[in-house]
Symmetry: C2
Subunit: 152 residues, 2 copies
DNA sequence: CCCAAAGAGGACTAATCCAGTGCTCTTTCC
DNA sequence: GGAAAGAGCACTGGATTAGTCCTCTTTGGG
């Protein structure tokens, strides 16, 4: 089954919460209780988002987290990248891979696969946190264009 | 890292090979050698594709596999489904899930997430094996449409 | 001034999943 | 009848992931 990690699910849920709280500070314990998730898991996730610059934190008594960027300036890709790392559907899908993989001599789909990967990355990058919370329908992903070359 | 399984990579590579061989029978040992993959792995993959109706097999001496459907009638989604199972980016992304997940009471992104999932499924479903072998550029994935509802 | 509440930063563990292996059975051809 | 090839499983070792735990720092309040 092709799936984001469970942590990513949690992460989206939690970040979603911050869009509903203005810029008030929200603490780990409260979130863990409200979303019935393990406290430690929530703590780890928020720490990661904080390091990645999606949230800002306030330590000490009455501390907590709040969004650092606007909900429509945070993409699904941003969130996923923090937790699941880059979208790299196949080994040689990474944009910056120059050195060929073990199968480059016999593989004829390197370039199309990279293009597929890029389409999905772009799509996830266009999907914002606000849209995720607003029940909108995502755009469709256009099929491959068999004559134009839009990627490297 | 968000990734298809390694087996899926192998699978695409192998199916790709069949597009270049007309309808000649190709056997496991030969493929394994040519693609320097473990014989057992190739065998397992081809068996799966065969069960799924993408390949047909001929047993016995001089047996082997060949494509059962035309290369432009086999989508990337077909191949991935056989090996990695359904694309279900989050637990509640499955189309047929009626019963709500553990977080449905606090989650506001169920519907958009399912739509995201569906867009990706559609995209993978449009990508054919021929296109994968022809170095074409995949279509773009259009951004979310915030007014129209194109999904359930 | 000291304590409690909260985040920071790691390391760690248990359980799950996946890639790869192995074996036996059946089919087919010569 | 024997060898080559696929069918059908069940299994294992290693990697990955979910979740835990502990200690340190920061902050505010009494
Ligand atoms: S699998 Fe790496 S070049 Fe195709
Ligand atoms: S996570 Fe299941 S309803 Fe949103």
């Amino acid at each position: 089954m092709i799936r984001f990690s469970k942590m990513a699910d949690y992460g989206v849920l939690l970040l979603g919460h911050f869009t509903q709280n203005g810029n008030a500070l929200v603490n780990t314990a409260g979130l863990a209780e409200q979303y019935h998730m393990p406290r430690t898991v929530v703590a780890n996730l928020l720490k990661e988002f904080c390091k990645a610059g999606l949230l800002e934190s306030r330590r000490g008594l009455h501390g907590g987290y709040r969004l650092l960027r606007a909900p429509d300036d945070i993409s699904l890709l941003d969130m996923l990248s923090v937790i699941d790392g880059p979208v790299q559907l196949t080994d040689c899908a990474a944009e910056d891979i120059i050195h060929q993989c073990d199968y480059s001599d016999v593989c004829h789909s390197r370039s199309p696969m990279r293009a597929v990967n890029q389409r999905i990355v772009d799509f996830l990058g266009q999907m914002t946190l606000s849209e995720l919370m607003n029940d909108v329908a995502p755009a469709t992903i256009a099929p491959l264009d068999t004559s134009t070359s839009t990627t490297s």
